[in-house]
């Protein structure tokens, strides 16, 4: 993997901390996205060539990625560039605000870049066109091959300035890439940028792999593999490729997830027909049994403060969601609605639990408060499950399968995302069929 992930911030210029006049309310579905003009970044004529990077087109390519990121949020409406009224370099110095207002833009992004001595120097500015003011500006230096990440970091900064929320563009998604007929599926671990670029395969498909999940604090991953026909939870370092079995259990371990500080894995261990929840401390290797019940207890997920674990259990008959303290005490059922509930996942903000609901042969992705109240179903389909949160707790990614014909034809599995408002449902681009997505934290944090 690319080890040069650091971004060297050499100059942060918050020139004017003006009162923000443009503000986006992202707490409800946005039916009136903010018109934003994203000018191509001006490429300095002193720029030198760099292997594998089309320097001449770099300004346009970066602005295209920013544009795509903003369009994908559903909160912004990036305007067509052919209506732009000023050259990128001039606009970056000082835009003619009234001209940009004419094309109905409310915000403008400008920038310039220079590739020299094998370094990429980028600076950008965000302008409030109504107030005729600069809202934020930032300059940084990195290696030119990191240019896509530069676009994502700029997108995050602008998103943060306009919405008041942390961005989620400089992130990756790990998932299971699927191919082959439905009854002979080949599954590989795959990782990509959140916009679908830079897909890399981490396993060869020789053994069945399932449910990869990111460590929220670093680039480690935990997943389940049938390596040597022994279904076990594994730990994988995606930078080095090294991996190991988690713990020494005399049976199947599955449904792994990291604790919020990344130091523990919580998972299920199945023995003699009974699945219970265990944790293993990755430093001390100490294993603790958290639940002890004759029912199936699985799909555990820590609260972001580490104090609680949500999980699903069929102890009441059918799958329902329960919450307990992280030592296993104080187990409380939180779902009582009509239907079966599974895969609880605690929001990184701590206020919501996302889940899968099954009712009358339909599958729903929804969110509820952590005591089970305020249930909101966001999307209904033939089959979908396994939500995973964007790091800012605003978007869920999950997978959806289609109904198959009598020979399995017409079957597909794809990744989808939806805002917690229930708006802006969209399919994520993947090279192949895909399932079990897990969203990383911000890489530049």
């Amino acid at each position: 993997m690319n080890k040069i992930f650091y971004i060297f911030l050499f100059n942060i210029l918050f020139i004017s901390k003006s009162l923000a006049l443009i503000e986006i309310d992202i707490t409800r579905g946005n039916l009136d996205p903010l018109p934003i003009a994203i000018s191509p970044l001006h490429v300095d004529i002193k720029s030198e060539n760099f292997d594998g990077v089309k320097v001449k087109n770099l300004g346009e390519n970066i602005s295209k990625i920013i544009e795509d990121n903003f369009r994908s949020t559903g909160l912004f409406n990036p305007l067509k560039k052919d209506a732009f009224v000023q050259k990128p370099d001039i606009a970056h110095l000082k835009p003619r605000f009234e001209d940009w207002r004419l094309i109905k833009a409310q915000a403008l992004v400008t920038g310039k870049l220079l590739v020299k001595d094998e370094k990429l120097k980028v600076e950008f500015r965000l302008w409030d066109l109504a107030a005729a003011k600069e809202m934020t500006a930032l300059a940084f230096t990195t290696t030119p091959s990191n240019w896509r990440r530069v676009a994502h970091i700029i997108s995050d900064k602008i998103y943060e300035r306009l919405t008041g929320e942390e961005g989620y563009f400089d992130t990756r998604i790990i998932y299971v890439a699927e191919s082959g007929p439905k009854n002979q599926r080949i599954k590989k671990l795959a990782i990509m940028d959140q916009d679908g670029a830079n897909t890399k395969y981490l396993t060869l498909g020789n053994e069945l792999v399932l449910t990869p999940r990111f460590n929220p604090t670093n680039q480690m991953v935990t997943y389940m593999s049938y390596f040597r026909n022994m279904p076990r939870v594994y730990l994988l370092d995606i930078e080095t490729g090294t991996q190991e079995v988690v713990g020494n259990f005399p049976g199947m371990t599955f449904a792994p997830r990291f604790s919020p500080n990344g130091k523990k894995i919580v998972m299920s261990f199945a023995k003699d027909g009974n699945s219970d929840i265990y944790t293993m401390d990755l430093d001390t290797r100490v294993v603790e049994r958290i639940t002890d019940h004759s029912s199936i207890d699985t799909s555990p997920s820590f609260s972001p403060d580490g104090k609680f674990i949500a999980f699903n259990s069929d102890r009441s008959g059918l799958q329902q969601i329960y919450v307990m303290r992280s030592d296993g005490s104080g187990v409380k059922r939180i779902t009582f609605g009509n239907g079966i509930y599974g895969t609880p996942v605690w929001s990184p903000r701590g206020d919501l639990i996302a889940f899968t609901k099954m009712r009358k042969g339909r599958f729903y992705i929804g969110v509820m408060r952590t005591d089970g109240s305020g249930e909101r179903l966001l999307t209904e389909n033939y089959y979908q499950e396994a939500p995973s949160w964007s790091p800012n707790g605003r978007v869920l990614v999950f997978y959806r399968e289609t109904k198959a014909g009598s020979q399995g034809e017409g079957f597909s599995a794809k990744l989808w995302s939806i805002d917690i408002t229930g708006y802006n449902e969209r399919r994520l681009k993947t090279e192949s069929d895909a399932s079990d997505p897990s969203w990383s934290s911000l890489l530049s944090k």
């Binding site: 399932l210 199947m252 069929d314 014909g405």
Partner: protein, 157 residues
Amino acid sequence: MFNKNLKNILLVIFATLILSACSTAKKSGNIDGDVYTGKETVKYLASGVPDRVFFATNKSSLTTASRATLRKQANFLRKNKNLNVTIEGHADERGTREYNLALGERRANAARDYLMTYGISGKRISVISYGKEKPVNPASTPLAWSQNRRSVTVKVN
């Protein structure tokens, strides 16, 4: 306390009545209740010894027919003392992946436990769950799902 017990007993009786009503009502073709009763996907460990048993949705209890099949398997294993088996547990596609892994494990163990009560050593029987990952019938129909809710006894040597 007594009231609560009585209530539970009544509930159980009530539930049984409903369930038996359902199973008679839904008996059609090769599905009884929603347990597959046909032979279309069945293979044989030996002549007259079916390799698999079928389960109701979300359930791991053995039907009368399943027990009869497993007694034949136990008999077969008693006669072939050096033979070891793996029991694969499977679920249909209409559940969450992780729950289905647990459910497959529970089903495989239900079959294993029954073989053990008929004198087969647990050392000879390993289990593995594939959850919903290995459907025998890839269609998205109630018949296919009933064929996929299964435990399969496989010879390992």
